[in-house]
Symmetry: C2
Subunit: 304 residues, 2 copies
């Protein structure tokens, strides 16, 4: 299977601590890097994770709170200093366009590549990006300001050749591409060989959703149904549910309840409040509801 | 002697590395904190240094390159989250006012304190700040954009009472304040006792200058004459003098030459280029010219 790996660069909430950096993640899909959120200090975390700036193609900003975007202009400046020439896409909520553009105009006037700001209205499910490998769809969230998550879904890959059967039917090399694409094969005698007889199914399509920051939204069940990995904020523990509601955040129990309803394969929790010195309490609360839960931590990688 | 302590939070140059953070320092003068420059990640470095946000009164930004100011809005946001209500002063070059104000307006709309932006023209020596303890004067530098250093100078303190002599002359308690201020004492017999006979001199006035970023400017000798501590950038080693000139930076040898000419008591070098994996080469080059040199490093404190 080709690479589909999540790197956690930061999983704290608004107050950075000596334990957690603010929100930032990188998804490595077949050696192309997609960044999700970019809090202050993300560029340093990126370096520590031994990721390559040159492979970063797009950045997705969930919302315009500082702990999710204060590192954006810094990482762009650094890539310019490192000699980058390839353009980069920055997807962000439309209310963030003006201030980000103002900063780029001021601090990144003369950089040798374009920053394509692409704004979206995160209030509805909408595909905002696609390339050869994936699609990215917004996941509408409810926070104190406009905010959305992102659902990354692999595109269906090609079918795999059944070498033995292809040899049996004497299929010529120039046909292989078409057959991987699903075409049947017609022999010289006019016999049609069904594609399923000469190929194996493609790799299963993998999916990852990032949901932060948001109040508990059980209705996300529908959009997230059956995905492989769900990163969901669990800013507070169950006991602090009142505080979670007030600040439009989620508790660990609520995050786990959503994972259970949506039948996701694995839950990864993060965006931990600075009040918790370690995440074990939150993790235990999740696991009592949804067993396959992992707590994010800086430097963690998860292969999907 | 009262506290006059410098904390190094970051002493790298434009490219943050796993070794160095971008420029930021804190001067602790009698438990009031003055920040100088505020690169990305400064708030985390501040916490690591166990400094108290509530004691931070003013921030001085030397110039508007990102590695000297990208952490400013983040640290202000964090102080707001921590419940700060006291106003804070931010001194910055006038060309930075608009973009910083735009960011504060966007990200810090509802914070419970005022950020007083005070702009200056760093092209001339001018006192831009004073309080009970110190004055701060700009040090004109030459960089690719408007840039200046800062000279922190203690105000003359009060004279110290010579307890023995005061007892001998029977000086009453209510006179002590005036005598500390330098007044002579007149006995009941009308005899004038010179202040010098009943007091000791005040503590010596201490001074610290921050000079970064700049091309080598031997003419700074005059303004920096005899100061206690000079922080001067030494971005490059002697061999890279051409690169230093091109980028308006200083070599280690040049920083040391200035320290020698200005007869400063101690030189602290920093703003090291990411190309040097350790600062020992730069330090050796300085010490061969000016022996009392120290290389900055994150977490270093220097008592003046």
């Amino acid at each position: 299977m080709e690479k589909f790996r999540l790197h956690i660069l930061g999983c704290g909430s608004a107050l950075p601590t000596s334990v957690h950096n603010p929100s930032a993640q990188v998804l490595n899909i077949r050696e192309k890097l997609y960044m999700i959120d970019c809090g202050e200090g993300t560029q340093l975390q990126f370096r520590k994770s031994k990721l390559k700036f040159s492979r970063l193609t797009s950045v997705f900003i969930s919302h315009m709170h500082g702990d999710h975007c204060f590192g954006l202009v810094g990482i762009i400046s650094t890539m310019a200093l490192l000699g980058r020439t390839a353009d980069i896409n920055v997807f962000l909520p439309k209310d963030g366009e003006e201030i980000v553009r103002a900063q780029l105009d001021y601090f990144c006037r003369d950089i040798p590549f374009n920053v394509n700001l692409v704004t979206f209205d995160g209030g509805e499910e909408r595909m905002i990006f696609e390339d050869n490998s994936i699609t990215v769809t917004t996941v509408p969230l409810k926070h104190r300001i406009a905010c959305c998550g992102f659902l990354f879904r692999e595109k269906q890959g090609l079918r795999h050749i059944n070498r033995e059967m292809c040899d049996f039917y004497g299929i010529p090399a120039f046909m292989i591409g078409k057959i991987k694409n699903g075409e049947d094969f017609v022999t010289e005698d006019g016999e049609t060989v069904a594609n399923e007889r000469i190929t194996f199914p493609p790799d299963p399509v993998r999916s990852y959703a990032y949901c932060s920051d948001t109040i508990y939204m059980p209705e996300l069940e529908k959009q997230l149904k059956g995905i492989d990995l769900l990163y969901h904020e669990a800013t507070f523990c169950n006991e602090d549910v009142k505080r979670a509601k007030e600040t439009y955040h989620t508790t660990s129990g609520e995050a786990a309840a959503l994972a259970l309803k949506a039948e996701v394969k694995k839950l990864l929790i993060g965006h931990f409040s600075a009040r918790y010195t370690d995440s074990n309490l939150l993790l235990r609360e999740c696991r009592s509801i949804f067993r396959n839960t992992v707590a994010a931590t800086e430097g963690l990688t998860v292969d999907i």
